[in-house]
């Protein structure tokens, strides 16, 4: 699936550019894409260094386990394959709370720690996503947020009379996305398992 999407984006891009006479644009765009990847990674070094250090301390101090225990029923339902009180559970809680609170730069490092912990539990092939990872990313791509900080700032900048009036509609839309993602994840998990994929 990823292979096809990736190839599709490139092939369609190059062919369309050839027809619309924008072929130089392709060359420029390809290198800009690579440059952006390096920039994103470099920006991440700072937040990752900070948060991975803090998380190691939180784990050593027993805080991650405590957090996992607090949210146990909710996590057991979503992630039946992760043993209770496993550090992965704590990292998942941290990531989801950071997302809900709109702390973007804390959410990513905690999410990556959760992925590392889940990878330790991955009993399939090490290059293939586990069930728990798929559920976790279903939650993350639908990104439940209470305050969409970036968009509020933009609304204020362009002189909105009531910048926060869209908070309710945003929570509704994102909650719909999340519910569908969780259900789709469940159905697809069963379906993939039956087909042995």
């Amino acid at each position: 699936m990823v292979n096809l999407v990736w190839l599709g984006l490139i092939v369609v891009g190059v062919v369309v550019a050839a027809f619309t006479g924008n072929i130089e644009g392709v060359t420029k765009a390809a290198f800009e894409g690579a440059e952006l990847a390096v920039q994103v990674a470099f920006k991440l070094i700072a937040v990752l260094t900070f948060w991975l250090g803090m998380m190691k301390l939180a784990e050593a101090g027993g805080l991650i386990k405590l957090l996992a225990a607090l949210f146990r029923p909710f996590l057991r339902f979503l992630f039946p394959s992760i043993p209770k009180d496993h550090p992965a559970m704590g990292a998942i809680v941290m990531n989801l709370s950071a997302n809900v609170l709109g702390l973007g730069n804390a959410a990513t490092p905690m999410g990556l720690i959760a992925m590392q912990e889940m990878q330790k539990l991955n009993r399939g092939k090490p290059d293939t996503a586990s069930d728990a990872m798929c559920t976790f990313l279903a939650l993350n791509t639908s990104c439940l947020t209470l305050i969409p900080t970036t968009i509020l700032a933009i609304r204020i900048k362009f002189g909105s009379q009531d910048p926060t009036e869209i908070v309710g509609t945003t929570i509704f839309a994102t909650a719909c996305g999340m519910v569908v993602a969780v259900f789709a994840d469940r159905l697809l998990r069963v379906w993939y398992r039956r087909r042995g994929l």
């Binding site: 990752l48 803090m54 709109g102 290059d127 293939t128 970036t150 609304r155 569908v180």
Partner: protein, 177 residues
């Protein structure tokens, strides 16, 4: 409620910065050494994701620059018009899962042109806030642990994006329409 959440967000990181090392110290953890050991992984993780991110961002960048997006929008327009979705937000809907900066640029432009309190402005705000950049999230998170086979994750992510988009249109029409 909103002010409370905002206040909480302001305090949460300083609070964690205080509580986490203190609790660890009480539990007789060597705080400095443990922090450094964790922080060391930050660098390697960030470097590890570069190839994954580069692959995805190159493909998306080429696709965006080619103008293929406009063709797609043109093809989808008759269908979305039937559903009562304004054509102005279609490019944003398609950009949202592909590129975070691209989508933010489009929604800013829509808010600027139509005004933040217009129907389009409110819809663009809701769409921007209610979804994440699916391709980026998948590439980053899977890439950081060397996962190359995503199984059904992409379907779930895109299904969530479509749902959030349709739900945005529905609720904005219902509340503000």
């Amino acid at each position: 409620m909103l002010a409370l959440v905002a206040e909480f967000s302001r305090w949460i990181i300083p609070a964690l910065l205080l509580i986490i090392p203190l609790v660890a110290w009480v539990k007789r953890v060597k705080v400095y050494e443990t922090f450094v050991a964790g922080a060391e992984e930050g660098f390697t993780t960030a470097i590890k994701i570069i190839p994954y991110l580069a692959a995805m961002l190159i493909a998306i960048s080429v696709f965006r620059a080619s103008g293929a997006m406009d063709l797609l929008v043109g093809a989808a327009a008759p269908l979305t018009r039937l559903l009562g979705i304004p054509g102005e937000v279609l490019p944003l809907a398609m950009m949202r899962p592909l590129s975070g900066s691209g989508a933010l640029g489009l929604s800013t432009e829509l808010i600027k042109t139509h005004g933040p309190d217009s129907f389009i402005g409110r819809l663009a705000s809701t769409m921007q806030g209610s979804s994440d950049t699916t391709f980026y999230v998948l590439t980053l998170y899977f890439g950081s642990v060397g996962i190359k086979k995503y199984r059904y994750s992409l379907y779930t992510g895109l299904l969530a994006d479509i749902t959030s988009f349709l739900a945005s249109v529905y609720i904005v029409i219902k509340i503000f329409g």
